[in-house]
Assembly symmetry: C2
Homo-oligomer: 344 residues x 2
């Protein structure tokens, strides 16, 4: 297996900077749009051959150094008995948002062997079809909780914070349940063959540092504990995290994923030498054409300056409308960037 | 006039910490909901007696130390000839978003004396009806541009950044026009009697520091220049600005407004002694009941510790569903907080 992604996760020397992209198997790919023409995203995820093929495609088309399991962060939530749908152009919609302890009590413990066997199969197929590591993933407890409380995507996450502050017992009970779920779910993916895990705490930037320490970090830590000692690196990703970087590092993960709002050299400096850093090209740069994308890619690489433990990625998911050729050119540029002691 | 708000803006000693709230004349007030029952927000804004009354109400009901003109950041945009509406529960919707130089060319220069005479009248009425300073306001060029480019509110502002990066000439032309407009519009409000100005760059936290420096700061500076030398303090507000604080200070304003994501003591330290700081109670704390709101208010005040130049406010607008009594209790607690040399 071509393992420069894993080596970088462990901050070992690599021949070239590894690259992969969040949502690299997404709407910007024609093949994905075809697969989705008559299927929901959850249907694709539950069809192992199709899911594995979607996850394999970007490895072939873009030359990326890791494949990510094709799934949705709502997959385990649905398996806990939550009625939901992924609405086109909107995102997850939870039919009965969580407000009270009884709502939390109705969440079933996740039994992935029973309810998510399709994932074992899709991870197995994916492993067999690519020569790069396979990344499993989950939403982090806060981000999942925000969907459950808001009832769907939000711009301000005010309901989530109001419940957190005003109904502390409900919040802590919900986070208890979700951190156990994430621990179970990620352990399950590693047993199924995932070589690494990413926790998406995509919306955690909505809260203040003190609230993070009190209402989030203990649960993120518990979620990470699920895969402690399994020998797989874990990536801890969030957006809008300029006030939270050090606290996120302390909460767990061998690699911290950042968005484009923090210059990556500053993130490297603040995070120090004991974790890797993933990021942080602005996904909007890819919509602005190849020249812009390449110039900005060069800037990210120069700022990192060959520091061990860099995984090149975007600051968030690939946007629909991105040209696959632009993303392939970016990958090529990342691989061509000369590293101290590297091949290029 | 009771002027502790203005004194704090200029970092002079005050008897009590001044407080006001963004969107203090909003949906959380019964009287506002009544006024809006059969009118759009733009209709209320264009009816001077009603607009002045809406702006006066929170001074009476909450005991705040400043009134803010009742208007909408889309008011001057509409007056530039842009077809738009404020859609209920969504926000501004621009019927023909800006994409090309021709779209920018169609924007008319703002002639506020001609098209916004109702504001002169409403500011005059408001001045006569309250004993506290009147704050005029405008969107900052970036935030207005984001609405014009996205066509409405956005979660990721990807179209805005893609245009900024990929069609630089269009972006710079648009920001030229908007910064002149904001300069004209705020100058007009000061001439009409506003004692202070707030620029809302609410969504500027969507971009990286380097992009802020290149694509935003020069225009924000030009917008502020419109009221240079007029003797009114200017507040420069944004959310998600943990990576941008120092750059925002450099771009202008006697006071920097922050959201709840940055601890206010850290913001004070980073901003230094030459600007005031406004903020930063999490508006969601007000939805969590009086005890939570008061405890968190105490925390904000303790962190500031009586530093000159603090204006108490929320980190963003008052949320619908907030109890006016909670907000009144918060105001009372702010006023009761003992200041070095103060009355309390």
């Amino acid at each position: 297996m071509q393992d420069r992604f894993l080596r970088a996760c462990w901050r070992k020397p690599v021949d070239r900077t590894p690259a992969w992209y969040m949502r690299q198997a997404g709407r910007y790919l024609l093949e994905y749009r075809d697969a989705r023409a008559e299927r929901t995203v959850l249907e694709v995820a539950k069809t192992p051959k199709l899911a594995a093929e979607m996850a394999r495609l970007p490895v072939e088309k873009l030359g990326v150094d890791a494949a990510i399991v094709f799934a949705d962060i709502m997959i385990p939530i649905e398996a806990m008995g939550v009625s939901l749908e992924i609405r086109e152009g909107i995102g997850p919609v939870i039919h009965k948002p969580i407000q009270e302890t009884e709502d939390v009590a109705r969440l079933r413990a996740l039994d992935p062997e029973r309810s998510l066997a399709f994932l074992t199969e899709s991870i197995g197929l994916l492993r067999d079809s690519v020569d790069v590591p396979v990344i499993g993933f989950s939403g982090a407890p806060f981000t999942i909780a925000s969907y459950l409380v808001e009832g769907g995507p939000s711009r301000d996450f005010a309901k989530t914070r109001a419940l957190m502050f005003g109904k502390e017992k409900v919040w802590h009970r919900l986070m208890d349940v979700l951190s156990d779920m994430v621990a179970t779910y990620t352990r399950f993916q590693v047993r199924a063959g995932a070589h690494a895990i990413q926790l998406f705490d995509s919306w955690v930037g909505a809260i203040a540092p003190d609230d993070y320490a009190r209402y989030v970090a203990p649960y993120t830590r518990r979620a990470f504990a699920g895969t402690n000692g399994m020998g797989v690196p874990r990536i801890h990703f969030g957006t809008n995290t300029a006030s939270l970087l050090e606290a996120m590092r302390a909460a767990g993960g061998e690699v911290i994923g950042i968005d484009w709002r923090i210059p990556i050299d500053e993130a490297c400096r603040r995070l120090g030498d004991r974790v890797g850093v993933q990021g942080n090209l602005d996904p909007a740069a890819l919509l602005a054409g190849k020249d812009v994308a390449l110039a900005r890619t060069g800037d990210v690489l120069a700022r990192v300056g060959g520091r061990p433990g860099h995984i090149f990625n975007l600051g968030h998911g690939v946007l629909p409308g991105t040209a696959p050729e632009t993303l392939a050119a970016v990958t090529e540029a990342v691989h061509a960037y000369p590293l101290p002691g590297g091949l290029a």
